[in-house]
Symmetry: C2
Subunit: 117 residues, 2 copies
Amino acid sequence: MSKLAQLAAAASAPPCCPSLTDRELTEEEAEITAAMFKALGDPVRLRLFSKVASHPDREACVCDIADVGVSQPTVSHHLKKLREAGLLLSERRGTWVYYRVAPAVLAALSGFLTARD
Amino acid sequence: MSKLAQLAAAASAPPCCPSLTDRELTEEEAEITAAMFKALGDPVRLRLFSKVASHPDREACVCDIADVGVSQPTVSHHLKKLREAGLLLSERRGTWVYYRVAPAVLAALSGFLTARD
DNA sequence: CCGTTAATTAGATATGCATCGAATCAATCA
DNA sequence: TGATTGATTCGATGCATATCTAATTAACGG
């Protein structure tokens, strides 16, 4: 597990994750959260993420999602970034490698963007 | 209004904004949405955004939020990026300029990140 | 042992981005 | 007119990133 993913996991463990409207982020929280948004801030990565998330059972083999117009090493590179940001989890199953969305982190980001009145 | 902000507004107008789990993003949707995440993907920008969002009445004068450790032109530069991404709105009121969170776009991003079962 | 899948490495290129200082401009107010 | 706030411009620097090709490595299955 990468250092960033560890920090992300720690930050997303309840009862962390303030809503945007609760209070301003600390510098450290801003670093962690910005890293996740940054990972989603590239069109190719966002499409890869979207392909995984919208796949049946919310998981997909690399072979199912790799068609995004860039080379194989570049796909691998982007998937690694998404893993390191704590957004995707990967698992080898036989010949293929499957990716799935990390549910807690996704919920944390969504909650962060949801204004509480 | 910037071209990006126009696209963003169009993309966030109902009944657009699929949830991540609904279907995979088109290339154009990925461009627009990634641009918003990218804007939130810088720690300084995210802190500025967080300061505005957590301020009373969810709006703040630049003078209230400018203390993020970078120069005045750099603060202005980041606020412009957040405006262009459609995330913040600005308004001059007398001597001061006030920023507030664009509610629809924020809700759209949150909805995007919320998995529907 | 060979084929397949995908991660990784290496090296290279090109572009983008954050940041600065210094200066200027625009809007407002006293 | 002068002071204040903040946007903008300019030029510059340094670092990060996206991408490629080519090659290699690792894990698995037959």
